[in-house]
Assembly symmetry: C2
Homo-oligomer: 389 residues x 2
């Protein structure tokens, strides 16, 4: 009965209590609702959708997220692109700035029939791409824009740099458009701030695209997105496609921002109680940072959820119980600082579920999803995850 | 030339510049010096050594750490124990509190000839172990002690609980001794504090063992250890064995504590420059938290090293350059806050090496070690890592 620890596939369905812990659980019903919510919103707005598959890193989840079995898709590593290509996905944007020595892998994917576009934000990179791009198959390029100071990208009003990059690419490579990501929306507080972040993201992309068009480039792709802005935008005017990834599972950071509720979170880590420090109100569990990650994304939010919210085996949160500390294979579960009352007694051997602070980070720590099917609380399937670069 | 991203094994040696990034580098020469340092210290003190293999999770590294090819070894998961057993290790302590439903896996390992001992700190667990232990092959048990309030364990002066646990185990299971880990030594500041933490750890274990002996139990094993205390203790009197793990690689947290120098760190992440925000002095690299982890263990130390210290390709730190922020696949490299002068220009495509905040956490993000052989700066071998539970 304890043969599941390496994502082996015994006979399913399987009661959760028989799984080796810690392991990653995926509630298919909640996931399907999350997927429908964003898809319906974008469909009714008439804007394209290119889901980011870096959160899921799973063929089975990706198929449920993408508009068609062939894409479109966004990835954060070439490994993700290669895995998707192996499974028939042919329309992929690699949304991390290109390192020139990665271009051979880009070209191999393109030669396999994948319409793979790449991202850059400097003349230096554009020259490297142009130097190796085959005029018979010009590599499609998106210019990354910095809409909010979060990370990389050209300032959207730096028309001179945008045009220099476009000129450097042409004609060996092919300018396909602009792309931006409102990473600062993760810090947004309240509905008005989310709508403003979305509008800032949209305006940055539309402004840069218009500058490029005015200078003579077609710029068909105007790509924006983050889960908070995708679910909050009041307008997608001028946008050709929206990207988002973590919306598929949601997590405590997204709940803290206010774009989902804790009840929408589809991902959790199943864990077992292994001890107590009764005098301190601590319960020790077998989910440490190897299972949960060290992510502390809610530390700066109004409600600090520690390393995760503790639920019973059915997935209902136990009031005010969170993971307050993690070591490699230990989690310390206790009541939220300041909460009234005592910790419930959770005996050794009891199974609990921990909702993740940051779904991308928690999922990365696991090799597979144990899928809780739509019919109940049993695990009905195991879906492998890919990883690496 | 870009076929190494999944730890495949092309012809070695291989120049570092040909590796796909990010990837994990292990400097064999530094590792060997780190291994010798602790081994020689413990040998000359005449105390036993049971290295903790949770940091390395590699057969090749474990063989270099263990006193013999068969052990002794400490592990943090049964998966580690199973991997080691597959490679001939027969003397293993599983040093995380036992969950009763893990006992079948423990017994399977014991039936394969592995002298596997387990850890617990409650009568509840002792009863569960006694209930399934085979009197013909009594499971050897160590009682975990809480020497410093860090995590789990019986208070060393709680003789009543120690004796109750021993009574509950006997005769079905076998009390083998006591074990403690000075987890709080990671917060120690200065040599005197380290020596005091080591002495507190030793005294806790020796006191509990003597109480048990006075009550009639043999208690042959008195096991202590953490990297900071193992390298600082002024006495091992009454101790039968010392455990330590991260000493094999060291990291910035250990350098901050003062038990190694930055130059001793054997582990690093090879990364490539993918962009800049020149106005901010930022260099973007392709090592985010998937490659470095989100560990911020130096945040509370005198020198905050962010998510890692940035070195050139040969492994020499670039003055005051650290990773100040990480996203999933992006690291932001900048000068330490307050440092004088400008950031050096690191062109797109340049390779850098990042020293880890916490070696256990960074290594966990990777499937293999790219080993820089003792003869130079080339990668000469790839050693796989195991993971999971």
């Amino acid at each position: 009965m304890h043969i599941f620890s390496s994502c082996k596939k015994p006979a399913w369905p399987c009661s959760m209590g028989l799984l080796d812990t810690p392991c990653l659980l995926l509630d298919e019903k909640r996931m399907n609702l999350n997927i429908s919510r964003l898809r319906d919103r974008l469909l009714s707005a008439g804007v394209g959708f290119r889901p980011h598959l870096k959160t899921a890193k799973s063929i089975e989840v990706s198929r449920r997220m993408m508009p068609t079995p062939h894409g479109p898709a966004t990835v954060s590593t070439l490994r993700e692109a290669e895995e998707l290509a192996d499974h028939g996905v042919t329309d992929i944007t690699y949304a991390v700035g290109i390192a020139p020595d990665r271009l051979p892998r880009v070209q191999t994917l393109r030669s396999r029939g994948v319409d793979l576009s790449i991202l850059l934000d400097s003349v230096e990179q554009a020259a490297a791409v142009a130097a190796v791009s085959d005029p018979a198959d010009p590599v499609p390029v998106l210019i990354e824009l910095d809409c909010d100071g979060h990370r990389s990208g050209v300032k959207p009003d730096d028309t001179s740099l945008l045009v220099s990059i476009a000129r450097t690419l042409t004609p060996a490579a092919q300018l396909r458009g602009v792309l931006t990501h409102a990473g600062e929306s993760y810090e947004a507080k309240g509905r008005a701030a989310l709508i403003a972040a979305a509008e800032q993201e949209r305006m940055a992309a539309v402004m840069a695209a218009e500058s490029l068009r005015a200078a003579g480039w077609a710029c068909p792709v105007v790509s924006v997105g983050s889960t908070p802005t995708a679910l909050s935008a009041s307008s997608y005017a001028g946008v050709s496609e929206v990207r988002a990834g973590v919306y598929v599972f949601f997590d405590l950071v997204q709940a803290g921002i206010g774009v989902c509720t804790v009840d929408d979170i589809a991902l959790s880590v199943l864990t077992t109680v292994i001890g107590h420090q009764h005098a301190k109100g601590w319960t020790l569990v077998d989910a440490g940072w190897t299972a949960l990650s060290s992510d502390r994304g809610t530390a700066t939010q109004a409600v600090d959820q520690g390393y995760g919210v503790v639920c019973d085996e059915s997935g209902s949160p136990i009031p005010d119980l969170i993971v307050i500390a993690v070591n490699q294979e230990h989690g310390i579960v206790a009541r939220r600082p300041g909460a009234a009352g005592d910790s419930p007694h959770l005996p050794v051997g009891k199974k609990l579920r921990i909702l993740p602070s940051h779904a991308c980070a928690t999922a990365t720590q696991h090799r597979c999803y144990h899928v809780i099917g739509t019919g109940g609380n049993d695990v009905t399937e195991v879906w492998p995850r890919f990883s690496g670069w």
